[in-house]
Structure formats: C-alpha cells, structure tokens
C-alpha cells in the first residue's frame, strides 16, 4: 500500500478495514469526492441513497441496533449535516454505535461563512461521544479507526467525523498501521470482584428480589448469560423498553416491562422488593417515575459500563462498573453456599407466586384482557392478530415509532429474542420507525421487518419508502396504527387537560394510495374482520406492503403512571 491515494479513497479503505460494509447517505458539494471514490469500492462498501439525511441517520441506527455493528450515515456540509442532528441525538440517548461522516467546506475557506458551511462539530459536541474536524489528509486513516473504536467500545454512542473537501481531494500515501492511542479513554469492562461478591451476598439475604435488565444487556449481547443467572437463582426478571426480547417473555421468571406504561404487577413488585439488581439500565425517569419514591424498600445494585450513570438518578447500595455480559459472567463464577441458595430459592418462589397473584388481579399480557369492550376496531385487535401471525410465521423484527402505538407494541406483542424490538427510547424521536426499519431490513434480509408507526410519526419520514423500492428490499412491511390523532399527546390532553384537543387532530392522506404511488402494496383495514386477511396478504406478498389500520380514535394506553408520580400510583382505566 505504498501508492498514493486521494483522501476520499483512504476514507473508503479505512472504513472497509474497520469492518464497515454498508452506509446510508446523501451526496452534495463538500462530500462529492467521497462519492466519487466510493464507486470504485462499491463491491465492498454498499451505499444506500436515502431521501433525507434524517432517514439516513435512523437507517444507520436500525442497522446498528439490530446487528450490534457500527451504523454509518453520510451528509454533506451545511444542511446535509444539520439534518443528521436528530438521529445523532437519538443515537446518543440510546447508546447506539454510529459513525456520522460529514463533508465540510475546504480548509481554505473554513470559518469564513463559505457556501454551506456549518460548524457541525460545535453543534454536535453535546450529543456525540466524540467528534473530529479533519483538515489534513494524513489524519483520515487514523481518525476513522479511532472514531469507530470509540463508538463501539465502552458505552456505545455516536461519533462524528467532519472532513474538509480539500483533505478528501488531496493525495498522499496512506498509513493504516498507526496504533490507537487514547490515554484518556479506558472504559472499565470487568466489574470489581469484591463488589460482585458483595452484590451476590446482598441478593442472597433478600426475600423479595428482582433483576431488572436494560439496554446494556442488549448492547453487550448478554441475554444468554442473564438467562443462566436468572435460572440459577430463580430470580424474577423485569425487562425495560430497550431490553424487550433480551429475556424471553414466555419464561416462568419473566415479569415484563416496568415504568410509565409498564404492568401494574411489575411496578408493584419494584415498590415492594427488598432487593433490586439493575444490569445495564440507566434508571430513566420513564422507568422510575418520581425518583425519590422508586423502590423505597429495596437495596439496589447497579451494574453499568458508564460510571456517570451510577448514582445519577437513583442512589445505590452497591455500584458495579463494567460490561453487562462480563459482569454477569463474573456473577456466575461465584459459588455461594448451597444452603443459602436453597433458602433464597424458597423465598424467591413465594415472592414470585405473590407477584403472579397481583398479575391476575391487574393487567395481563393477553391483549383481550386489556381491551376496552367495544365492537369497533381497537388497536388491541390489530396487535393480537399481529402477535398470532408473527408467532406462527417466525423470524420477525419490529421497529416502532413514538407514541401510543409504540407503547402498545411494547406491551402487547411477544418478545422472545434479542434485537427483535427496536425503538427510539431515550429521545422519543417521531419519524424513527420507517427509516430505522429500512436499516434493519438491509441488515437482516432473512427476517420480516415490521415498522409500526402512528399516522403522525409515519408522515415525518415516509419518503424513505422509495428507498426500499430502489434498493429492491423485499422484507419490509409497515403497519400504521391510524387513529386520526397525535394520539399520545391527545391521551394526556384527555386525562390531564380537560380534553382540550389543541393541535392534536390529524388529517392524513390516503395511505394506501400513497403506498401504491411509491410502488408498495397498500391495504386499508377498517374493521376487525379484515385484519387477518390483510396481514395474510402482507406475508404472502413478495415485496413491501403497507397496511393502514384505521382504528378507534380515542383509545388510551393503560396502565399509566402520570408524569412525576410514584410508579406505585398507576391509572388502570
């Protein structure tokens, strides 16, 4: 490799060497040299042209969250990169490994308000794990390596690399061999043995234990280890929104989702538990409710790879800094006295029986027990049918948008496998589902990928549907839970603001016709009896299908914890 290359060629080669094979983006002036070069590398470096950089960013997120690999998105200087800001912020909140490559104006005019110049490193400083402005061709190879390293180690996150046009156009002999040197960045992955021992002995002393797992379990691929741990100690498992699927929901020990729209029995269990171990969750306020009232009795162990998460929202008894999988493995290495374990099993079993009683008294997983009693088409009917079909047909992944439909999906669909439920959690970004599902579909051609969106969020990014056609992607389907409202906001207005529906009623285009205009198969469903046939047809069609489910308009997601209330105070109807 002693031949000269352009900066853009070096960029392509560095990406390939660091494991990138798929990118989502849109070209423009400053980034054109990269597009010029990537043509030569197209057999190793697939570029998927999106219709809006926000779409490219979310597609990269979908790719990353469903594979665990870095998701790459590209925008040109100025508006191209500002359009990436939302998905970068989204990836930041959900610790998604992402690399954003941005074109920048030439270094000769940088700082002079040149055409399409935006200070994207300045703008994204608070929402990236790290970012770079590269002005010298000789830095490109190393920066790409370092950026991907940072994005995919420790607590994952987005890293942005802004490269000036003249650096991309210059030529030089590349040096790919420079070793990563980051004296200030050494994430702790192995938990302290002493703390791990202490955590386990604290657990074994408890009578009402719960294990709560979060995004970290998904990101570190710790599902198998968590399962072994849970089964060994027979400890009930709570899965946060981002951990849905990391522990199979049909398991005897699975309790389900906690928090604002979690199940009553799960929140009650948290409030009554005397021990709570949180592995890889960050005690988000949607999980804890009013933090000072959360798990008042429990002694809390918090395992997180990011030390700054520990003690931030909830005070803990035992902090353990480390990777969720590695810490779980260390927990499994411990061999406590069998007598203690037997006693613990006995108590945990009684506790679980008690929680299951609560569960029968309150909400159930089963859709129909949670369904309001009417003959019209309820969202619950759609989810019930989807659940049945997904279970029988297998190999599904679901990407949800933000709103009521998102919470119903989390509550009502069945989650068995890691990385099958993908959603915008921390940022709650409407418009996430369609482009993120595109990214998932690209990464998993063997699976059926469902985007479930509301009528509102769908219209924020539906332009990416045409990318599915251009790229000949066959395995993506869209279900719109069309309730004619910005439903989640309407629900709050109904419950807390005297039904003043200000700015929430929503007129939509004919989604079936829109789908057809894009070259998709479009289906409209208006009553319960049409649901099954529509889903059958979606599965039978070898290609993308959109189903517009025109559901009952004013339905609420229950149970619900009002904002800033204790999770012990749930509204159930």
């Amino acid at each position: 490799m002693s031949e000269k290359r352009t900066g853009a060629q070096i960029l392509c080669e560095a990406l390939i060497m660091n494991g990138v094979d798929t990118m989502f983006g849109i070209p423009g002036g400053a980034i054109m040299p990269f597009y010029h070069a990537m043509w030569e590398y197209r057999s190793d470096l697939r570029h998927i042209l999106c219709r809006h950089e926000q779409g490219a960013g979310h597609a990269a997120e979908g790719f990353a969250r469903s594979t665990g690999r870095i998701g790459v998105c590209i925008g040109t200087s100025g508006p191209g990169t500002t359009n990436l800001v939302t998905p970068i912020a989204d990836a930041w909140m959900d610790s998604t490994p992402m690399l954003a490559i941005c074109g920048q104006v030439s270094s000769t005019v940088l700082g002079k308000d040149a055409f399409q110049e935006t200070d994207i490193t300045g703008i994204t400083m608070p929402i990236t794990k790290h970012n770079y402005l590269v002005k010298n061709i000789n830095d490109i190879a190393y920066v790409v390596k370092e950026a991907i390293h940072i994005a995919t180690t420790g607590r994952y996150g987005p890293v942005l690399v802004d490269i000036t046009k003249d650096a991309l156009q210059a030529s030089a002999v590349p040096d790919y061999s420079k070793k990563i040197f980051l004296p200030g960045y050494r994430p702790t992955v192995t938990g302290s043995k002493k703390q791990i021992k202490a955590a386990l002995s604290l657990m074994l002393k408890s009578k009402k234990p719960v294990l709560m797992i979060g995004n970290g379990v998904m990101m570190s691929d710790a599902s198998a280890e968590i399962r072994v741990f849970a089964e060994r100690y027979k400890i009930p498992v709570i899965t946060t929104l981002h951990a849905l699927g990391a522990f199979p929901e049909d398991h005897d020990l699975s309790l389900g989702m906690p928090g604002m729209h979690g199940w009553v029995h799960v929140n009650r269990a948290i409030q009554e538990a005397d021990f709570l171990m949180n592995i890889g969750g960050r005690f988000d306020d949607r999980v804890t409710g009013k933090a000072s009232t959360f798990a008042p009795i429990a002694k809390i162990v918090h395992v997180d790879i990011d030390p700054s998460e520990i003690g931030k929202n909830i005070e803990v008894e035992i902090p353990i800094v480390g990777d969720a999988r590695i810490v779980t493995l260390s927990l499994l290495e411990e061999e406590p006295e069998e007598k203690l374990v037997a006693e613990f099993h006995k108590n945990a079993a009684e506790w679980l029986t008690y929680i299951r009683e609560l569960q029968t008294k309150h909400q159930h997983k089963q859709q129909y027990l949670n369904r309001p009693d009417t003959s019209t088409m309820m969202p619950h009917d759609v989810y019930a049918a989807l659940t049945k079909q997904m279970n029988t047909r297998g190999n599904y992944r679901v990407v949800t948008d933000v709103g009521q439909h998102q919470m119903w999906a989390a509550q009502l669909l069945d989650w068995y496998k890691p990385r099958t439920h993908i959603t915008s959690g921390g940022a709650g970004t409407m418009g996430f589902a369609v482009p993120a599902a595109l990214g998932v579909a690209v990464a998993h051609p063997e699976d059926t990928v469902w985007a479930i969106a509301g009528d509102g969020g769908f219209q924020m990014t539906n332009q990416e549907m045409i990318v599915v056609i251009q790229e000949n992607i066959k395995n993506m389907k869209i279900a719109i839970i069309n309730n004619g409202f910005l439903g989640m906001v309407r629900q709050w207005q109904e419950l807390f603001e005297g039904k003043r529906y200000s700015g929430t009623p929503l007129t939509s285009p004919n989604f079936q016709m829109l789908a057809e205009a894009y070259g998709w198969t479009g289906i409209t469903v208006e009553s319960v009896d049409q649901i099954d046939a529509a889903i059958d047809r979606a599965y039978a069609t070898d290609g993308p299908v959109l189903i517009d489910f025109r559901v009952e308009r004013e339905v609420n997601v229950f149970p619900m914890v009002p904002q800033n209330k204790s999770i012990g105070e749930m509204i159930t109807e």
């Binding site: 608070p126 402005l133 004296p183 960045y185």
Partner: protein
C-alpha cells in the same frame, strides 16, 4: 453551596476546553473560575476548575466521559498551593501616591506602570489575600481590574504529571 477545586489534566487538542465548558453548562453546574495552561509535558494541558456544587462526584464522572480527559483530582480537602494574579489600574491623584506605594509593599505587590493619572499594580497570592488586597485598594478608585482565576498545585509528593499519565496509557 460548597466550593470545590478540581485539577484536570487533558490532552491538548483543539476544542477540549469547549467540550469541558459545554458539559458544565448543559449539566447545570456553576463554574466560579477556570484556568487552562500548558504543563511540563507537551500535548498535555492542565485546568484548575473551581466549581460551586453540593456534590462534585457527578461533575467528575461527567468530565471523565470526555475522551480527552486524562485525570481529574478533587483537591478541595488537600493541602495545596493556590495562586491567583490580579492587575489593577487605579486612578491616582498626587496626594494618594505614597499611601498606595506603602500598601503595595505590605502586600508584596508590584507597581508595573505609572502614568500621569493612573497606576497599574500587579499582585499575586492566595485567593483570600487577593480579595483582601482588592478591598483595601478599592477606596482609591479602581479604573480597571482583571483577575486570572486560581491555579492550584497539591503540596508534597501527591499530584500527577502529564508524562506519567501518557506513559501509563502507552503501556
């Protein structure tokens, strides 16, 4: 609110000050003073940050999230040498000159500029001594003033050099 002093060693990259300051702003912490400068090790800068906060633990953890931060020491409770410099320009009329000269001697300050109606005094000391000096000199009529903010070093063998941190990382 408690006052904490943090000594922070960072890689001397463009934007690193911006990253640190931006973190303080968005997390709602109050910076009382911040001084950055070179250290004995090329490529390593040192900041002395004085923060007003009940609990500085979160501040430290959040700062550590920045990739370029090498080492943070909370030296609030340590024996330290604390220094700050102030330049004061006084409006001086003939009758007060002698008195001011006497005061500068008491504070081992230096008169670094004398003009027809003004005088610039340079004074260095611990923050309390600087406060004290300013209080004493104020009645003479301060025209301009600039304090540097404090720089801090732990006494004795404790403390960290930039080189030691870089070497550790290279191992």
């Amino acid at each position: 609110m408690k006052i904490h002093t943090l000594v922070v060693l960072v890689q001397d990259h463009p934007g690193v000050l911006n990253r640190a300051v931006s973190m303080f702003r968005r997390r709602g912490y109050n910076i009382a003073s911040l001084v950055v400068g070179h250290t004995e090790t090329p490529g390593v800068s040192r900041m002395t940050i004085v923060v007003e906060s009940e609990n500085v633990e979160q501040v430290v953890k959040q700062l550590y999230r920045l990739v370029e931060v090498l080492k943070i020491s909370d030296v609030t409770e340590d024996p330290v040498v604390d220094r700050e410099m102030v330049l004061v320009k006084l409006h001086v009329t003939g009758q007060h000159r002698a008195e001011i000269v006497a005061l500068t001697e008491v504070f081992t300050a230096k008169i670094v500029d004398v003009a027809q109606n003004t005088m610039v005094i340079e004074m260095t000391g611990g923050p309390a001594k600087v406060d004290n000096f300013i209080d004493v000199i104020r009645p003479f009529g301060i025209k301009e003033m600039m304090r540097t903010g404090r720089i801090t070093m732990v006494r004795g063998g404790k403390g960290h050099s930039g080189a030691e941190l870089i070497d550790q990382a290279a191992e």
